[in-house]
Subunit: 219 residues, 2 copies
DNA sequence: ATTAATTTTTAGTCTAGACTAAAAATTAAT
DNA sequence: ATTAATTTTTAGTCTAGACTAAAAATTAAT
């Protein structure tokens, strides 16, 4: 069954909210991310349930069905592959590609996305370190930790980010934090939860808890 | 002012119909190409006139304004650049790219299309031999002739096609007619207006007038 | 020059997907 | 256990962009 642009955006956002929790997703949380009012969300949830893409019980929240999830994953796959294209082939920076990929992810063609995948040499992660789902909807488990969770004095590598808003990514760039950077946590400062950090052999810097929380690393 | 997908499609089709004639364009001809009913077209023409993209007089037909034309040209530019990308980089055949480019042409981003242009090495023509408008809306005059118009026994080169429906392009491929082929017209057959034709040094073939009319050549 | 045929427009509907305001259900607070 | 606060849904609107049927204008045919 064909999906409209609006439906695809809802499925994508419901997927994002389902990740992490086993709980059903609230109408309000969806409204916030789609920038719609709760009443509009209720409307759409009824349509999506009708089509069999979500399970939805009045007042009880919503979850993706298997089919709904596979649609969401194929959109995410397209989004991330296009981001790789924009950065690797067209020379964009990692903080510039999100909005364009939001449009490109809705281009409808199975062959296109598989040819693109091959043209890009079957990348496993996008420019923010997020895994790219396979054609079958398999999403590689990367086992990354948040920088706010690693042990003191352990050296780790910056593998990705948990948020890809432009302002966050631009801040990381200013701090000289990019994918692949070697990091060592020197101290968790109790006063403001900030983190003292060494990048490679440079002199230490301070980053906020908010930043550390959104940096993904491999030890 | 932002353009919706529907508006862009109308402008593109009005542009195509304006090419060639100095006459104003009829509601019905637009309805045919957009696959809408005449009443819907009238509606949209009034909106486009309101926005200053066409001049429109009730019952008298429609033409693009300077601004309307520049919007149309930018869509055509995007369409053709994406077609080059699909053929050159992703390995599509020339008869497979039209529908995908119809979607990609609506992606909104000035920087994207200029980076793509540069990535493709500033191509001047698309995979069907159609010229690619510049960022400023300049469209190179190529001075091609229809194969149905060339002189007998004159050798010419296949430079493009005047129609890019998949069935037509597939037929050309079957006939071994591709961009760059060296052609010599041996005879115009009066009976059915078919054309006897030599491709390079191969033995002659017959093609219909309908086909010859849609082949563009340089002598 | 009328009449007939054709084309175009108007008037009124419909659907998707948004909205607001009010009602209903759930959850939190005493 | 009620009441208050919060969340969610329902009912009713609105807009873009399509539609049909009927009216109006233009063009073609006698």
């Amino acid at each position: 069954m064909a999906t409209s642009l609006a439906e695809e955006n809802y499925l994508k956002i419901i997927y994002r909210l389902c990740e992490g929790t086993k709980e059903d997703i609230s109408t309000n949380s969806i409204a916030e991310l789609t920038n719609n009012k709760a009443a509009s969300v209720t409307d759409m949830l009824q349509k999506l349930a009708e089509k069999g893409w979500v399970t939805y019980q009045k007042y009880q929240g919503v979850r993706l069905t298997k089919i709904g999830e596979s649609i969401a994953l194929s959109i995410i796959r397209k989004h991330r592959l296009w981001e790789v294209f924009l950065v690797e082939k067209l020379g964009y920076n990692w903080d510039e590609v999100h909005e364009i990929a939001e449009q490109l992810e809705h281009i409808e063609s199975e062959t296109l996305i598989n040819k693109l995948d091959s043209f890009l040499d079957f990348p496993k992660i996008d420019p923010h370190g997020d895994p790219i789902p396979s054609q079958e909807g398999e999403i590689p488990e990367l086992g990354y930790l948040h920088l706010s969770e690693v042990k003191l004095n352990e050296t780790c590598t910056l593998m990705g980010v948990a948020k890809d808003s432009a302002v966050f990514l631009q801040l990381l760039t200013k701090l000289n934090l990019s994918l692949g950077a070697r990091l060592e946590v020197l101290e968790f400062n109790t006063f403001d939860r900030s983190v003292s950090l060494k990048i490679a052999e440079e002199k230490p810097i301070f980053i906020s808890h908010e930043v550390a929380k959104n940096i993904l690393v491999k030890v």
